[in-house]
Every structure is written in structure tokens, then in C-alpha cells.
């Protein structure tokens, strides 16, 4: 049963950026898009399990810091080699300035 988990304050993430959020045994990446929407994906790149939080957000794309693999963080779709396998995405909501993810 999916549950809502409080991850961070909205202001913890700059626009067009992301942060890492660890919960239980999992690690997630939480994004703030240039138009102030929040998204959440798996935190590790599907290519070689590197933390995406050290990567670069460009518009709707997160680029992995290790080999520049690209994903659309809104859908999790792999958008550029060597990223071939999609990321899982998770719903988000913002309440009272706090970001929640459903996992």
C-alpha cells in the first residue's frame, strides 16, 4: 500500500535542480522544475547506479553525472545513451510548503 512520506521543504530545492532523499533502504531524487513543479524518481541512475542528485537538471531533463545519460524526470523515460532503462517515478504533492512523495 503506497503511503505519503514527507521528504523536504519546498524551499530546500532550487528551481531547475534536485536533491537526494533517502528513505528506508531506498534513495530517491526530488526535482523542482523551472516552472516550480515537483517530481520524484528513483535516486540512482539505471545505467550504473550512480546518484542522480549530483547531476544537472536542464529543463525537464536530468543528466547523470557519471556518463551523461539523460532522463525525462517527469516520466522517468530514458532519453539518451547510456541510459536505456527508464526510472520509476512517484507522485508528489506540496502542502504547507512541505514536499511529500507517494512510495
Amino acid at each position: 500500500m503506497a503511503e505519503w512520506v514527507e521528504a523536504c521543504a519546498a524551499e530546500d530545492i532550487e528551481a531547475e535542480d534536485l536533491i537526494r532523499f533517502d528513505h528506508g533502504d531506498f534513495t530517491y531524487a526530488i526535482y523542482r522544475s523551472p516552472n516550480d513543479r515537483f517530481y520524484c524518481t528513483d535516486g540512482l541512475c539505471t545505467h550504473e547506479q550512480v546518484h542522480l542528485a549530483d547531476g544537472l537538471v536542464m529543463d525537464n531533463i536530468i543528466e547523470c553525472p557519471k556518463h551523461n545519460g539523460r532522463f525525462d524526470y517527469r516520466t522517468g523515460k530514458a532519453r539518451g545513451a547510456p541510459a536505456c532503462v527508464d526510472l520509476n517515478v512517484y507522485p508528489t504533492k506540496v502542502e504547507n510548503g512541505r514536499v511529500f512523495i507517494q512510495i
Binding site: 535542480d17 550504473e48 549530483d54 547531476g55 544537472l56 536542464m58 543528466e63 553525472p65 557519471k66 556518463h67 551523461n68 539523460r70 539518451g80 545513451a81 547510456p82 536505456c84
Partner: protein, 354 residues
């Protein structure tokens, strides 16, 4: 005594690297505040378009003058310049656009990547994956397919490399595999299966281009078509070999710290233009997302955590050549780069490994 090494990707050193945890491992990273890194990682169409226009403009200009003066000896310097822009600057453009960091617009990276790949006779898809492995397992024996100088060094191969002969032989051998619908067994270890058709298609297209170039050479009974397409990969390769050898030669193998196995050196503006700042090679390996034009800034930011760069290529070769000669004589020696006091020390477990 030099330990016998097996550099093939299918051999026992590759298995050993996996067993020792050297494959796809965690590498040392210098500390850079996130805000600084974000600004360094920003791409710029403006800078990359300017530099690409200069590069393409130079290619057209020098080829034009070379053709106009052909076959006079006065055409030689222009072919030399054309060759360097084709067979050496093609390498750095291939490299940077392959990382996707030159332009902020991805299709521009792709166009330059395809062009650079063709100039360097590197199958675009196979080499994309080869270079990914080089970044994952930099100078890990049996894992890294791009180790240019092995131990003991193959002196004849290095000299032939100045004319890109081994590269051309390998390219055409592999093209032979591809046009017949296969991949070389080594390529099959790092190119995922869903990409194989792309490799094969690209090689078949290239074969047609080379066949047309050779046909034009024969038809008009002049070497000119090959001087423009194909041969400059050979007569213009020397610059990228001289710079490329310095990236890792005579440094440590099988370590997880780019400060130990990668070299940064200072050099003149022309070489930096041809090489697209890859003389800042430790910085590039640590932070491959930083575009070429931001590498000098990154260097300034982390230089206190890095070994002192070589002052010039000449200075670097003066360190490298004696070590290579000793390796040729069978000694298991390499250079350990001194760190400044301000740097984080090399991790002890890495020292034990080497």
C-alpha cells in the same frame, strides 16, 4: 620485474579487476560546492557554435587553398593545417560532443559527434560505449578498452600511432565485421545488443562514402579526393596522439583516483583550441559533465587538491619518456604524482593496491 598483464577485455585481468572491486567502483572526487558545480556544468550553444564555425571554417579554408595549389609543394603547409583540424581536432570534437557537453542543444552535439566520428574512423555507436567504459573503469587493466600505452609499452605501435596506422587498421577490420552484420567479440562486451543494428548501419554508410571517394580518386586519376576524405585521419593524427598519450601514460594502473592515473598539463592556446581544453584531463575525468570551455575555471577551483600540473607538453614528456623506457626494459615502474599539502591524501587502500 614487470608483471605480465592481459589488456584484452576478455582475459583474466578483467576477471581479476571485477574480483578486486575495481570495476564500476566509487572514485575519488574533489570537493566542489554544488552551486559552483551547477554553474560550471552549464552548456553554451554560443561558445560551442563560435568554436565550431572557426573549426569548420578552417577546414574549408585550408582544404580550398590546398586544392588550389595542388600538386605544388606550396600546398603542403595547408594540407598539414587541414590534417590537424580533421585528424586531431576531429578527435576532441568527437569526444566532447560524445559527452553531450559541447552544446546545450542536443542535436548539435549529435551532428558534431557524427562528423568527428567519421573523421576519426570511429564507429559512432560502438565508440560511444567504449568511451563510457573508459570513464567507468579508467586505466583498469582488462576493463578499459582505451588504454593507449600499456605495460610494457609497444614502442613500434606508439610510433605507428603518430600516423594513426593501428587505428586505421582496427577501424577497417571492425568495419569488415560490421558490414557483414557482426560485431567484434570485444565490442560485444560493452555495446548493448539493442545498439548492434545501429553499429552495422553506420559502418555500411561509411563504406559507401569511402568507396565513392576511392572511385573518384581512380576516375579523375588524382589523390585529391583522398587528401580531403580519409587520408587526413592519418596525416593529421599526430597532434591528437601527442596530446592523447599524455592523458594517462606512465601513471598508475588499477587505482580509483584520477589524480593517480590521469595527467593535467598546461599548453599553448593553439593546442588548447585543437584539443578543446582536454589538457585539463584530471578535471575532465572527475567531472565529465563540465564542458570544455569551463575546464580552466574548474581547474582553478580544485587545483589545490590536485598534483601540480606539468608546465608544458615538453615538460610532461620529459617525465614520461624515461619511465616508458624503464618499462620497456622490464621494470614495473610508474609515476606517482606528488600532492600539495593542501590536497586530500590518496586513500591508503589505493596505495596498497598499486
Amino acid at each position: 620485474m614487470l608483471r605480465q598483464r592481459d589488456y584484452s577485455l576478455l582475459g583474466k585481468d578483467g576477471e581479476r579487476a571485477v574480483e578486486m572491486g575495481l570495476a564500476a567502483a566509487d572514485w575519488y572526487l574533489s570537493e566542489v560546492p554544488r552551486s559552483e558545480l551547477k554553474s560550471l556544468m552549464r552548456r553554451s550553444d554560443r561558445i560551442a557554435i563560435r568554436d565550431t564555425l572557426l573549426w569548420l571554417g578552417g577546414l574549408i579554408l585550408f582544404a580550398g587553398i590546398g586544392i588550389a595549389l595542388w600538386p605544388s609543394i606550396w600546398s603542403a603547409p595547408f594540407w598539414l593545417a587541414y590534417g590537424v583540424l580533421y585528424g586531431s581536432a576531429g578527435d576532441s570534437r568527437w569526444h566532447e560532443a560524445g559527452h553531450g557537453t559541447a552544446f546545450s542543444t542536443q542535436w548539435m552535439n549529435e551532428v558534431v559527434y557524427q562528423l568527428g566520428s567519421f573523421m576519426m574512423m570511429r564507429n559512432p555507436t560502438a565508440w560511444r560505449w567504449s568511451h563510457i567504459r573508459h570513464h567507468t573503469d579508467t586505466i583498469i587493466v582488462g576493463r578499459d578498452p582505451e588504454i593507449a600505452v600499456m605495460r610494457p609499452p609497444d614502442a613500434i605501435r606508439i610510433c605507428l600511432n603518430l600516423l594513426a596506422i593501428p587505428n586505421a587498421v582496427q577501424s577497417f577490420t571492425r568495419m569488415g565485421y560490421h558490414v557483414t552484420g557482426r560485431l567484434h567479440p570485444e565490442e560485444a562486451t560493452y555495446v548493448p545488443e539493442q545498439e548492434w543494428n545501429k553499429v552495422i548501419l553506420e559502418s555500411r554508410i561509411w563504406c559507401v562514402i569511402y568507396a565513392l571517394t576511392i572511385a573518384a580518386t581512380l576516375w579523375w586519376s588524382t589523390l585529391l579526393p583522398l587528401m580531403v576524405i580519409g587520408l587526413p585521419s592519418i596525416y593529421g593524427a599526430w597532434h591528437h596522439i601527442l596530446t592523447g598519450v599524455l592523458q594517462h601514460a606512465a601513471l598508475a594502473e588499477d587505482v580509483l583516483d584520477h589524480r593517480l592515473n590521469t595527467r593535467t598539463f598546461y599548453t599553448n592556446p593553439i593546442t588548447r583550441f585543437v584539443y578543446w581544453n582536454m589538457n585539463y584531463h584530471v578535471e575532465h575525468h572527475m567531472f565529465p559533465m563540465v564542458p570544455y570551455h569551463a575546464l580552466p575555471r574548474l581547474h582553478a577551483l580544485i587545483r589545490d587538491d590536485l598534483p601540480e600540473p606539468d608546465k608544458s607538453m615538453w615538460h610532461a614528456y620529459r617525465q614520461v619518456l624515461p619511465v616508458l623506457i624503464r618499462q620497456l626494459r622490464g621494470e614495473d615502474v610508474f609515476l606517482v604524482r606528488e600532492l600539495p599539502d593542501s590536497a586530500q591524501p590518496y586513500r591508503a587502500e589505493l596505495h596498497n593496491m598499486i
